[in-house]
């Protein structure tokens, strides 16, 4: 458990763990407490949920080869930088 309430920056850092149920119960409660009063972070959480829902419904064969190739190049370049 943290000895302070969570900041917006910490919410951004923790959002993936929250959505994957990887936070301990106290941190999850602090996360939700922040989301409850912070409209910006609530919107961010909603966008992340929507993105996961959308991407999660795309099968590899649904992605055009050109897009796959572009993504692979982008990831390889990203790793080098």
């Amino acid at each position: 458990m943290r000895d302070h309430h969570l900041t917006c920056q910490e919410i951004v850092e923790l959002v993936t763990d929250y959505l994957e149920y990887a936070l301990d119960s106290e941190t999850a409660a602090q996360f939700e407490e922040h989301i409850n009063f912070c409209d910006g972070c609530a919107a961010y959480l909603g966008q992340m949920r929507a993105a996961i829902e959308t991407v999660g419904s795309v099968e590899p064969e649904d992605v055009p080869q050109e897009t796959l190739d572009g993504l692979l190049v982008a990831f390889r370049e990203w790793k080098r930088t």
Binding site: N36, F37, C38
Partner: protein
């Protein structure tokens, strides 16, 4: 067990987006979900937890089945909304916001180092009761640490619980 649940104006939850079947003249139907705290289950709060979760609309909820009580919330395997607490929308929500703003002013003005925070309070009124509740507690935290933050939250919850009882 009877608890409370805040929902958005359209009856959906802030965290999962689930749309609750709302009560009319009779309670709403039972909703059943296996209990896994923070993962699934019917999440609600006790009177002492109200200040942490304030939202647009407030309902009384009946909880049944497996019930797990945590520090600021309760999770159950069954729940149904009993009634909409109209008093919340009919003035209590605004009174709570004003009370939190006044309290935030009081704490901020008591310490010269916190007076800069005092200027942020009134412009935040339009952000609603959840933000003002947080601001009052966060300014208390600046003065007295996390214990002061929690004490302010408890004070807010007691204020709300007293008015919901009457």
């Amino acid at each position: 067990m009877i608890g409370y649940k805040f929902l958005r104006a359209d009856g959906s939850t802030v965290f999962s987006g689930f749309s609750w079947p709302l009560p009319g003249s009779e309670p709403g139907p039972w909703v059943e979900v296996p209990v896994h705290p923070c993962r699934s289950g019917i999440h609600a709060c006790r009177a002492g937890d109200l200040s942490y979760w304030v939202g647009e609309t407030l309902y009384e909820i009946e909880l049944d089945g497996e019930i797990v009580e945590q520090r600021h919330k309760v999770i159950a395997s069954r729940g149904r909304l009993l009634r909409r607490v109209r008093a919340w929308e009919d003035g209590l929500r605004d009174e709570f916001t004003r009370m939190c703003a006044n309290r935030a002013h009081e704490i901020a003005r008591a310490e010269p180092v916190l007076t800069a925070l005092d200027e942020d309070i009134e412009p935040s009124i339009s952000d609603g009761p959840a933000m003002l509740g947080f601001m009052a507690a966060a300014i208390a935290e600046e003065r007295g640490g996390m214990d002061a933050y929690r004490a302010e939250r408890e004070r807010q919850a007691a204020w709300l619980a007293e008015r919901l009882r009457s």
